[in-house]
């Protein structure tokens, strides 16, 4: 029974007369006790919704997240302007956007704030989710700009679908690996992960020169297959975070 309903009920009971029915009294006493217990368990104070929390995270972390993405975007755009056959090099650039997400995602570990942040209503789970939403939005904008830049340099929109795949597949590989490491609490492997992301940029760049056939229209099926596989891994990691968040459980590297 809600407080307002109980109040109305008590008021109507008082208006009805002074006769006390003992069985009803016990029932009301039990209901009052239940409400008191509920109020005791909750802080009784107003708390922000997830969207308000997201706006707070944007206020505190937005500059770091969007600033790093903008910096990477600037460097990538300069490179695209300088390289011949830029479309083949799109996969070499997109892991950098995943790499630029790392400082924001791992800031609390770097500054030893993980433990303190974990014992809050938001905990590491909601925080990670909020940062991923902001980083995802920034990544989306940046990758769109990169593709537009490539199209501008090529002066042609042929193979735009393939270029989207070239951009997304390496990004999903890196993000899935990063989230998996955080999920498994492998703090010491984070630097290895960062190095691997940088290495993958070089590997994709080399593949553009050494294996041009994988960038031909006939290899589109392979890219679609890779996209489906790594989307699956990425969605599984995101699904895990969402599940932990729904259950109010902690996530990732703490303390």
């Amino acid at each position: 029974m809600k407080n307002r309903e109980l109040k109305t009920y008590l008021q109507s009971s008082l208006q009805q007369g002074a006769e006390i029915r003992h069985e009803k009294k016990e029932e009301i006493t039990a209901q009052c006790k239940k409400i008191m217990r509920e109020q005791e368990k909750s802080s009784g104070e107003e708390r922000t919704s997830f969207w308000q929390f997201l706006s707070d995270v944007f206020r505190f972390e937005g500059l770091l997240i969007f600033g790093l993405q903008a910096g990477v975007l600037f460097l990538v755009c300069i490179q695209i302007g300088m390289i011949q056959g830029a479309a083949y090099y799109v996969p070499a650039f997109t892991p950098l956007f995943a790499l630029a997400v790392m400082p924001a995602l791992l800031r609390s570990q770097f500054y030893k704030m993980g433990e303190m942040e974990a014992v809050t209503r938001a905990s590491g789970t909601e925080m990670t989710l909020a940062k991923l939403i902001l980083a995802g939005a920034a990544n989306l904008v940046c990758m769109t700009v990169v593709l537009c830049m490539v199209l501008y340099v090529r002066q042609s929109s042929d193979g735009i679908g393939r270029m989207i795949l070239y951009g997304l597949v390496p990004y999903l590989v890196c993000m899935s690996a990063l989230l998996r490491l955080i999920r498994l609490c492998k703090k010491e492997k984070i630097f290895v992960c960062a190095a691997a992301m940088m290495g993958s940029c070089v590997a994709w760049g080399v593949s553009a020169k050494a294996l041009p056939q994988i960038y031909e229209a006939s290899a589109t099926g392979l890219w679609i297959l890779l996209f489906v596989i790594f989307s699956g891994f990425f969605c599984r990691e995101i699904g895990y975070i969402l599940e932990r968040n729904r259950e109010g459980k902690l996530y990732g590297i703490i303390g």
Partner: protein, 286 residues
């Protein structure tokens, strides 16, 4: 409100950090005493539900705390022993950031941040960056963040570490005022802090909860076991090796030893009033 710790155990490899600790905590201030490595921090982290226990559970009013999730964390205020900070945040920004994580609406967060900075004596330094703060000032910011959500369960790991005597007194008063109707657990090596504010003392040794009781109740246990003995400096060295010496002070040519012993350690020894520190040292020595 009742926080029950039921046979809580944490094992790291072969080492038992916390060994089957059970206790029931009701509103009041609980002082957690124990030497380094006794398992105080591990126990506190498990009560905060940020460290998974090997076995055993923590219940709040009969409900397992991990199943309460965010609702449980909403009731918690926690100051870790060794905490970091974002160096480029000002004290005010840091508290506003923590308030955001605790889900406190902005207007309320601003009001409470201002109040708490005043309470911990940092209102003049509110706009200064944390990287410019001394250890004691950072500790006070840490205490303030733990109080932001007006927690019903406040867990403070070594809160007085780095505080000067004046600040320690301020902290004691703050906790005494705050504790009404709430569960406050604090660990410290400074026995006088516990004597001053704790309603109950929990004494841990090698992961086990060896003693629990009120300060006066526990002090009584040490009565008749504290002795003072005046000896020469050369004898003092021998006594320090063969007995539990809680304190020594020089009085002229002689050294007065405070000895903890079940029986009279020497004919000249005089029985004296026991303090909580004596019991603490006696338990650690035994």
């Amino acid at each position: 409100m009742e926080l029950s710790v039921d046979r809580l155990t944490k094992q790291y490899g072969r080492k038992l950090a916390v060994d089957c600790v059970s206790t029931v905590l009701k509103p009041g201030v609980y002082g957690l005493l124990g030497e380094n490595g006794a398992g105080k921090t591990t126990l506190m982290r498990m009560i905060c539900a940020i460290l998974e226990s090997t076995s055993g559970e923590v219940f709040l009013d009969g409900r397992e705390v991990t199943s309460l999730g965010a609702d449980y964390r909403d009731l918690l205020g926690y100051l870790p022993q060794d905490f970091g900070y974002y160096p480029n945040y000002t004290a005010q920004e840091f508290l506003l950031y923590m308030a955001a994580l605790k889900g406190i609406p902005r207007s309320m967060a601003r009001k409470r941040t201002k109040e708490l900075l005043e309470v911990v004596g940092l209102n003049d330094a509110a706009a200064k960056k944390l990287k410019t703060f001394s250890g004691g000032m950072k500790q006070r910011v840490g205490i303030a963040q733990a109080l932001l959500n007006q927690p019903k369960i406040l867990i403070l790991d070594e809160p007085t570490a780095g505080l000067d005597p004046k600040e320690r007194v301020r902290f004691r008063n703050l906790i005494s005022d705050y504790a009404a109707g709430r569960i406050v657990i604090l660990s410290t090596h400074i026995v006088s802090d516990i004597e001053a504010i704790a309603d109950e003392v929990l004494l841990m040794k090698k992961g086990k909860l060896v003693l629990q009781g009120t300060v006066s109740g526990l002090t009584k246990q040490a009565e008749g076991k504290v002795w003072e003995l005046a000896v020469s400096p050369a004898e003092a060295k021998i006594w320090q090796e063969k007995a539990a010496v809680a304190n020594l002070r020089h009085e002229g040519e002689q050294v007065v030893l405070r000895i903890l012993s079940d029986s009279k350690p020497a004919e000249e020894a005089v029985s004296c009033e026991a303090a909580l520190e004596d019991l603490y040292l006696y338990s650690m020595h035994g």
